[in-house]
Amino acid sequence: MTLKIHNVTAKISSAISLVDIAFEVEAGCVTVVIGPNGAGKTSLLRAICSDLPLGDGVITLNQKVISQWDAQSKATLLGILPQRSSLEFPFTVEEVVTMGRIPHSTSNSQNREIVNKALALVDCNHLIARSFINLSGGEKQRVQLARVAAQVWDAVDAGDRCLILDEPTVSLDLAHQEMVVRMFEFFAAQGVAILVVLHDLNLAAKCASQILVLKNGRSAALGKPETVLTEEMLKDVFSISAKVISNPVNGKPMVVT
């Protein structure tokens, strides 16, 4: 069990709290968190990343309480991509991605090789010498993805690796959303545990091993896409009347409105 969330309760604001959230993110599996706006998805990730203090409950990473990890060795196996990033200094794309290697003690030439591979993974090799601040929103998003990919690129002795991504597809076109799905598959195949917040339910159905549905800070459903993505759930949690059909391409559930 790479990442385990035991009955976590945390106060988000005076109006809303995370209440009694419990799930596990297994090595080699993709866990997708979905839910309407303000359901607490980002706050859940912040609680896991120690940015939001826990009221109750425990989070373990590789069987060790996450707050007891040494910051640097934790960073060698846990890559986190927040929803929005601000970088206002003219770093090149290569420099930004190389920062993902800060926690590691690999040599410069090894780092350069990993950075190139990570950039290839997100289809950004042609941007390597460009200044980050001049990129488009989608390009910035992909470069940040490459940075996090470079951070957890190699297996480390400290334990199983884990990726936590908050809405990584938000400013990407369709082709690059598919690319993100391939990136999940690439890392999952190496035994990396992936926890990701997505808004696109069909994309979630496509890549998830497990879906967690949040509503008002509480877990409304947890399980395989087939059992979670139902018309009742969509009505109850998202307040939409939608049909769930079988996706003709991959046989997964598909939400149509």
Binding site: D51, A75, P82, E88, F89, P90, F91, I102
Partner: protein, 348 residues
Amino acid sequence: MERINHRLFIFFLLCVLPLIMLVYLSVGPSWIPPWRIFSLLGDTGNVDSTVIREATIVSAIRLPRVLMAAFVGACLACCGAAMQGLFRNPLADPSLIGVSSGASAGASFMIVFGAAWLDSSQVLGLSMVSVGAVAGAVVAVFLVYKLATDSYGTSVITMLLSGVAISAVASAMNSMFSYFADSEMLRRINVWEMGNLDGANWERVALIAAVAGVLLWRLPSHALALNAFLLGESEARYLGINVDWVKKELVLLTALAIGISVVISGNIAFVGLVVPHILRGFIGPDHRYLLPSCAVAGAMLLIVADLIARTIIAPAELPAGILTSLVGAPVFFYLLVKSKSLNNPERL
């Protein structure tokens, strides 16, 4: 803009710095040819009155002053770069965000209320005023950081307005202290407002050299942390950096260097803004190369500014701070217009 190889660039700066210092030592009301500077400094037994006079000008007046300019400039430029990393914003200049004002208020406080100790000795007096200035600077950086910065970044408007507020409080306190001060104290307090290097002596050179040494020893060890900071505070934490510790040390280091600089030479504005900005254009924002380049280029800029300031209306002198402001203010306007977060209503 195409980048220049950082090693070549730093090498180039290190070659030019001694040449500029040599020019500084030569130029002045009495011209001393550069090729005679070294023999004057080495020659102590000469009895010729012209030689003694020139040797005194060089070793007692110009040499301490050029060294003081170099160390103050290096401190200001490095602190500018470090603060811009800490605030994740290229507009964070120690004088603009009120740190220099905080330091001058702390120094004035010491001059007026610590007067009893100040008379006892020059060295003790200097160190008491320094303690006051550093304390004032720490309070100022801490306040601005708390007010303007959250986990998503720094609000430029809040940062600059905090600077205005702190400067206003500091100047009110300075006026209040002036009310209690006698004429000797007043003269000392006034030095802080101007920003010039004419008070150079070897004690001051030793003090600022020690501070510059600490700064150049400690800051580069945080270069990677500063790079990661530019991605965002949370991102730096996710990269395994002990963010709270690094922040504390950066605040203390910059406050120490700015505080002592203000004691030595008053409020010299914009060096911390202009030098890192120009150098980022040449070698990029990577602090591993930016910090050492800033040290050398900051020294060069302040030496040149002071050289012009003390020759342009000779035999009278301008405060060097006026010249750095004349160069720096337009750069500040340019950055303000260009500032993306300023045009982004979400970040106001």
